[in-house]
């Protein structure tokens, strides 16, 4: 991998799935937030962020997730996070009091069926 993190976007009907992989820290969290925010149109009902392939997530990355979740709540859009239980970043997320009030699922298939 050349960049610390990769972003893949997948839009279907009213749902946008963002698959993140690699490492998210202070150096790229802002750019990732902008990319995701720009991909959410008003027609989107649900945003799913898949963190299954993320190896590292620091507090700047967590703040980015909080910020996105707040923005979506303001527009009554749903926000779901995919974090496998064996994920390396689960401990960082839990240390920050995640999840607040959004569903967190084990596997992307639980969302997309």
């Amino acid at each position: 991998m050349i960049y610390p993190a990769d972003i893949r976007l997948h839009r279907s009907n009213s749902r946008t799935v963002v698959s993140l992989s690699g490492e998210i820290d202070l150096s790229n969290a802002g750019m990732i937030k902008r990319t995701i925010a720009e991909s959410i149109s008003n027609q989107v009902i649900e945003l799913v962020i898949d963190l299954g392939e993320v190896r590292y997530l620091d507090s700047a990355g967590i703040a980015m997730l909080f910020d996105l979740s707040r923005r979506l709540a303001e527009h009554e859009q749903r926000f779901t996070l995919v974090v496998p239980s064996e994920s390396l970043i689960r401990r960082s997320l839990e240390a920050n009091g995640w999840p607040p009030k959004f569903p967190m699922v084990e596997n992307i298939n639980e969302v997309t069926g």
Binding site: M1, Y3, P4, D25, S27, Y56, D58, S59, L88, R91
Partner: protein, 557 residues
């Protein structure tokens, strides 16, 4: 116009004196004339002139030829880069000509015609001719004599002299002026050649990296040397940090020499850098580079090796387009040539593919990359050169000293017919149980810091779960320091890690004045630090902030 159809040139500087036996007086006059002529010749062929630089030589020759021909002015005009016009290069008696930068069109006027025909020419009366240069008229020049400046069959410009009184120039005058013209042409040609070489050297230097990266756990050094006589070719090396914290290294050799090869090398180097940021696999990078040459630079050819070193797992993943194989020095001091799957040079075949090779390096390994200028000699096979490279690489040296040692060992008295590039990359030996680092406090360094720490923890056999926690907490402490301790003019971050008595102690120090977070939402680092460590101590003072983090246990069972 009175063209002297080349008679003057036949004489080639030998005084031609007509035998005259009519009477004693005229014989004496004739001898005197021939002596004078010899003196004039000597004045313009003086060996001492050889010590002057081009500009001094041109000035001196103009003065001497003007005096030898009893003329009032002398000037040298050179064809410009487009070959469509003549511009003054040096002048005596009509110096304004150079200052004003008059431009005479090729093929027209007095000088323009001499340049286009390549033949000497004289004008008896400027007022009744097609002289285009206004300065000659303003100065009151009445007669002109001019010769072409020719070197290696190419016309470079025109040399002319002028007189204020009307004057009919003799064939001897023309011969003398042509003699000087030939000398001027030689000097200018040598100067042009020298300048082109100087431009190529400057270009080559400017295209090599000014500084090499200082990547985590690695040390890099490199050298470039022009061929004998200072001529550059198309060899280059490059090393840069990828955003992931991996290190990209490239070395290559563009076929050809001089300015053209240096320019090609510059294009290739930049294209390779761009592709390196787009494609993770070295073979993919070379395939794109090859396609680029096929489309944009047909006929160009180059050998290149490109690879990526993972600073944690110490893999060297590389691909080679017919480049010299890498030489590996193992930590025990044994040296070997790393065999490489053979691929074609870039630009050689359509739709070439490049095999990907992986060499597992270890702490203390050294990678030696070079171009053929280092190992190939006229009376020595390429394999013999590689064997000698292995021979001199056994000693334990820093990369900087190793470069010097290799060049001394392989190129001692022989500068080489070809230019050469050499790059040495050492994987630093394991740092032991105490790690100390000093890095610029910039967000881009976070990934680098994590890589160094991961490798150090892996070498200490720290349990994977603890390793994750240490890296996560360390990342928070370092990000805090980068974000809050310094303004846009970033400072330094000092990190130490210690592994003692089954305890890991990490300190992150900055030397800035801490301020509260600018964005309220960012105060999240501290909870992670507290949750994932056994002890956190933060000391703040005017001199900076120090964060100490501890983990007990952590060793693999």
């Amino acid at each position: 116009m009175l063209p002297y159809r080349g008679e003057g040139r036949m004489m080639h500087g030998i005084a031609q004196v007509e035998p005259d036996t009519s009477d004693q007086g005229s014989e004496a006059a004739s001898i005197l004339a021939s002596l004078e002529h010899l003196q004039r010749l000597q004045s313009v062929t003086d060996a001492a002139l050889a010590n002057l630089n081009v500009d001094q030589l041109l000035d001196e020759l103009l003065i001497r030829v003007r005096d030898a021909l009893s003329a009032d002015t002398a000037a040298i005009l050179l064809l410009d880069a487009t070959k469509a016009g003549l511009v003054p290069r040096a002048a005596k008696g009509i110096e304004e000509e150079v200052e004003r930068g008059v431009r005479i069109p090729f093929g027209r006027g007095f000088a323009g015609t001499i340049a286009s025909t390549g033949q000497p020419s004289a004008i008896l009366d400027v007022d009744h001719s097609n002289v285009l240069n206004p300065i000659l008229r303003e100065k009151g020049i009445r007669s002109l004599l001019g010769v072409p400046l020719v070197a290696q069959g190419t016309t470079l410009g025109v040399l002319h002299v002028g007189t204020l009184a009307p004057r009919r120039f003799s064939p001897e005058d023309t011969a003398l002026l042509q003699l000087v013209g030939d000398r001027v042409a030689l000097a200018i040609n040598a100067g042009l050649y020298e300048r082109e070489r100087a431009v190529a050297r400057t270009l080559q230097r400017s295209l090599l990296p000014e500084t090499l990266p200082n990547p985590p756990g690695l040390r890099v050094a490199a050298r470039y040397r022009p061929a004998r006589g200072g001529e550059v070719g198309g060899d280059w090396y490059d090393a840069f940090l990828l955003p992931s914290g991996s290190v990209a290294v490239a070395i290559g050799d563009v076929v050809g020499r001089g300015l053209g090869a240096a320019a090609s090398m510059g294009k290739l180097r930049n294209a390779l850098r761009a592709y390196a940021l787009e494609f993770a696999s070295p073979s993919g990078v070379l395939e794109r580079l090859d396609r680029l040459i096929q489309i944009l630079g047909p006929g160009e050819m180059a050998t290149v090796m490109y690879g990526v070193i993972d600073p944690v797992h110490l893999t060297f993943r590389f691909a080679s387009a017919a480049h010299i194989p890498p030489v590996v020095r193992d930590p025990d001091g044994s040296v070997r040539v790393r065999p490489v799957d053979v691929s074609a040079p870039l630009g050689a075949v359509v739709a070439a593919t490049f095999a990907e090779n992986v060499e597992q390096l270890r702490p203390g390994s050294t990678l030696i990359l070079c171009t053929d200028g280092l190992v190939e000699r006229r009376h020595q096979s390429f394999d013999e050169g590689l064997r000698r490279l292995c021979e001199v690489s056994g000693v334990q040296l820093t990369p900087e000293d190793r470069c010097r040692h290799i060049i001394e060992g392989l190129m001692e008295e022989d500068e080489g017919d070809d230019d050469m590039a050499l790059m040495v990359i050492e994987v630093l030996p394991d740092q032991g149980d105490r790690l100390a680092l000093s890095l610029p406090a910039e967000v881009g360094q976070l990934v680098v810091l994590r890589r160094i720490l991961e490798r150090w923890l892996t070498e200490r056999l720290v349990e994977p779960r603890v390793l994750q926690d240490v890296v996560a907490v360390f990342g928070e402490a370092a990000a805090n320091a980068i974000e809050h301790a310094y303004g846009p003019d970033s400072g330094v971050l000092r990190v130490t890690a210690e592994w003692a008595a089954r305890e890991i102690v990490l300190t992150v120090r900055d030397f800035g004045r801490w301020r509260s977070p600018r964005v309220v939402d960012r105060g999240r680092g501290i909870p992670i630090m507290r949750a994932l460590t056994d002890a956190v101590r933060i000391d703040r003072s005017d001199a900076g902030t120090s964060v100490e983090l501890r983990w007990r246990g952590g060793a693999r069972p």
